[in-house]
Symmetry: C2
Subunit: 416 residues, 2 copies
Amino acid sequence: MQVLMKKRVVIVGMGFGGIHAARVLADQGLEIVLIDRNNYHLFQPLLYQVATAGLEQESIAYSVRAMARHWPGARFHLTEVNGFDLTARTVCTDQGLVPYDYLVVGAGSVTNYFGQSSVESHAFDLKELADGETLRNHILTAFERAVNETDPERRRALMTFVIVGGGPTGVEFAGALIELVNYVLTKDYPELRIATARVVLIEASDKLLSAMPAELQAYTLRKLRSMSVEVLLHNRVIDADAERVILADNTVIPTHTLFWSAGVKAAPLAATLGVETKTNGRSPVQPDLTLANHPEVFIIGDMAWLEQDGAPLPMTAPVAMQMGRYAGKAILAREKKSALPPFHYHDRGNMATIGRNAAVASAFGLNFHGYLAWLVWLLLHLYYLIGFRNRIVVMLNWVWYYWFHERQVRLITKRK
Amino acid sequence: MQVLMKKRVVIVGMGFGGIHAARVLADQGLEIVLIDRNNYHLFQPLLYQVATAGLEQESIAYSVRAMARHWPGARFHLTEVNGFDLTARTVCTDQGLVPYDYLVVGAGSVTNYFGQSSVESHAFDLKELADGETLRNHILTAFERAVNETDPERRRALMTFVIVGGGPTGVEFAGALIELVNYVLTKDYPELRIATARVVLIEASDKLLSAMPAELQAYTLRKLRSMSVEVLLHNRVIDADAERVILADNTVIPTHTLFWSAGVKAAPLAATLGVETKTNGRSPVQPDLTLANHPEVFIIGDMAWLEQDGAPLPMTAPVAMQMGRYAGKAILAREKKSALPPFHYHDRGNMATIGRNAAVASAFGLNFHGYLAWLVWLLLHLYYLIGFRNRIVVMLNWVWYYWFHERQVRLITKRK
């Protein structure tokens, strides 16, 4: 008697790519092993709202086991992946080796400081769930320290926040931070002259939101400046310590808070795949998202380097989601002895929120800005957030903020 | 020309006592300085629900500055108090000396391990906000480790939780934990035999909830046992390490989780007041809650030792709230050259929740248990929770759990 073994798909990384692959593969007669070093999926696009006291961290994370319940055939391993043995077809983890028939790797990206070690050791970033709480604690503590600071220059430095990178994260964080300061903290700290607080956004190129049409870039710049964000274009941070940053034009900005969103690179795991990586450490993949000579290994999301229309695909959530679904379908097709056409990314548009009633969106060849774009941004983010309870909690926080100009998660939390 | 200086009241500790004193004192022509080492008021009675994945920590804490906005004359200092100079009338803090005309001290209590150092170094407790998240992370991690554990005895030890102390915290935590395991985690971990998980509640005396009438004690014991909590009466933990606890009758329970709720003692700050402390380090106070020979210094809440009807008042939130209001009124009376009658605690009753539809309450000479007591418990806790948004978030979590048997904060959070 022969026992028919189910084929096993191992999915590394429960980000946007990984969960979309798992959804497609569930209940199709395969064994699916999900691996992540965290027990939750993180909705990274809203992490900046945790950092600006608008959301509790629990509302933007969702238990992988809660999802896996609805994915027949799937089980979850909480462990760190250290590498792969592509010949033996095993994943090397902290808990030992995990064999696979198919492998899907979507381990995402990390912040890229481009080798600037002084910046790296003093800057905050927003990649992991804990980063949001850490940055929120730091910002609120800076104001508490300012209350006790007698030297006016040091007080102002504590209330100065430098943000590097004019992409969506930098723009959204700058807008949310200036609103936190001007709407909320101004009421919390009557003893401080909150109007002296500074939010400085620094961008190396001559424009914000480089992926957007020029019209929306101009609106974003105008809007941020009208909210009193100091936007410096054509400039870069070249050095930093705990109390100041130094720009390429030799400007010194006294500040205790440097936030870096000027670059990402593939997770270090990409380097363990045995193929030469491209720009930003991304692994080149075939048109079907597999590694060369390894049709059973799919690389998806930020880690994957694939050119389309002459340029590499961007490192964004929509690309990761579409790649995840494609990898899942490609495996199912392979099992049915068929094949899919090459992966093609459908760009459904781009959006970023700037502040109350103000966002920019570009989709279907149309450009929107202001209230309508903002409303669409809210609804789409609620839609993509996982977990109905999370959606309600996030919506509640947004409504609260909209009506009462109040962000309630103004807690400085500690751990022992 | 003479400048009329406002008299200054310094309130140390923004617990139940401190905030009730501040509410009474606000807008009465006094300068009020609020001091706490955290920037939030913590609703400690629900901390066990954070530890059992039922609530996000942000929903049971409330920014002191958000409260102080509504208290004219009050401002907040985030700092640690190290002691007092009662002669010079100053509070010694990390930020320097703070002079006062009146002082109200309500710094609360800490866990009392009664000198058992092996227990202290291995046990979890629930006093500070971070404790809830730390314990939740530990419990969920124990199940994740159990999944990877091949030795059945070690696996069972990872799924064994020992709770010491049959007071309200021990009973509520035991009930919430067994429900988390049996309703929620049983669906999360199909690979574990969740029925082998153990929740053991150990109480030194012969009854649970010693402040309750015998009828409700009996119901609580019956109910917990019916939920499969192992209740051991007349027993004590005498030793512990990372993998087991040893009881007074020499029983060894292999476990990785020891939770201690068998005692509290006054915050160490009580020892700096220069008066000989009573049992549990509490500072004896006069009938008007002032220190002997210091009519300008009020001690309130868990720190204060005051006998009424032949017994010291319990270290509970209702006592602290009533003491806080009394201290505030006594200061206002003193300023009007009048005086209040001595403090008298009005015991409005006692309650504890055990699980779904099951609580015990004793009030107005009547004893309730089951559904009605549970409903009253829920409503009273929502009422006393501070912040309307917090109430909605907590209620949402409760409704979610009630309908779907689902606790959504099942996250293992890390910090860098």
